[in-house]
Symmetry: C2
Subunit: 217 residues, 2 copies
């Protein structure tokens, strides 16, 4: 194991919940809450309190038994771990209906996540403006990413063209890619691809709903 | 514990991977693959082979050591568990950019998942057609859900109005809701809400990417 810049290795399942924890802690902080117990936080966030306590234990000494957690301190620690103070610039690849919706929405709840450029291969889309972002041809990807300081890409390119698009994103030096096409793509080991698969999410939901309904019957 | 109609209780983490397994098994089956080892399947699907073997072990005797798994049989078992042969009709609540993109996409990779009706509160949207689906006012929700046999709802209503929209969906008798607003809503215990939180997904991706990059440095 090489030395890590982060404090310690946090389990992946814990890391996945950190952004959710941080969002709710900020909401609590904004409402004037300065101290919270895991049970109370569990009620707000709908995560079991044992999970919260275990997750928090991986992050150091954050609270005391019977006292609860200090909300401003948690916000500071979690912000530091997630490095949310720094702006992340995002390139969007694929400007169909979903891509346009993402540009228009543009993570507006988080001022440090910004889609700053957009690309497509369709001649009829190139040059169009969506919320002040001009859609550019894929040939401009690498130059624009470098010029604008983009470090993250979102691809909404359909599965049959996704590998080709992802290859170009990787060639442009991006190592963090959110991919809305569910089929697995091949990338070098230093590249992280996170899949958003709405069909799978929906099927899982239906499965749980039907299992749950059986339980009630 | 009441008696379950399902064969046995499957761990939630396993159940979450079932739709992904099934999609890839179908792709393999379509390519003429009839038998696969967990290691080979792991390479295709990018899930550790130990996880695959553990998941499959929860579902009964699906393979033999050294022989691998029978692909058509797995497809049959997983389809049965996920009940994917049956059409699921979906109501979409909230017809902004994202809602319209979802209607146009309409889970076209899965012919048994169909958005059949759409609703909004905005007067200017009501009566508009998006891919042959006419946007209707929220007052029609309950009647339309009953008329069309909808059992699942997708809400793209923004956080500040999400609770109100979800209450109406629940009142209409729906117990499976996919919610694109990340703030937790309150629902009765028999209702399942699955959250799609793109900001959190992106923050988690960035966190892993930066941790990973530190490791390489």
């Amino acid at each position: 194991m090489k030395e890590l810049h982060k404090e310690k290795t946090i389990p992946k399942a814990t890391a996945k919940r950190l952004p959710l924890y941080l969002r709710y802690l900020k909401m609590l902080g904004d409402s004037g809450v300065t101290r919270i117990k895991s049970k109370e936080f569990s009620d707000v966030i709908q995560v079991p309190s044992a999970t919260i306590r275990r997750d928090f234990s991986h992050l150091g000494e954050l609270g005391r038994s019977g006292y609860g957690y200090d909300v401003p301190y948690l916000i500071e620690v979690f912000s530091h771990i997630l490095n949310t103070q720094e702006e992340k610039r995002i390139a969007l690849i694929g400007c169909g209906n979903l891509g346009k919706a993402l540009i228009k929405n543009n993570f507006r709840r988080n001022e440090n996540l910004n889609i700053v450029c957009a690309f497509d291969t369709e001649a009829e889309l190139i040059g169009l403006s969506v919320d002040d972002i001009v859609i550019q041809p894929m040939e401009k990807l690498e130059d624009e990413i470098k010029r604008t300081g983009v470090t993250v890409a979102i691809s909404t390119v359909p599965s049959q063209f996704a590998q080709e698009a992802i290859d170009k994103i990787v060639d442009a030096g991006i190592t963090a890619i959110l991919n809305f096409a569910p089929d697995r793509v091949t990338v070098p080991h230093n590249v992280n691809v996170q899949y958003i698969d709405l069909t799978t999410e929906l099927q899982t939901l239906i499965y749980f709903d039907e299992t749950f309904s059986s339980k009630k019957a």
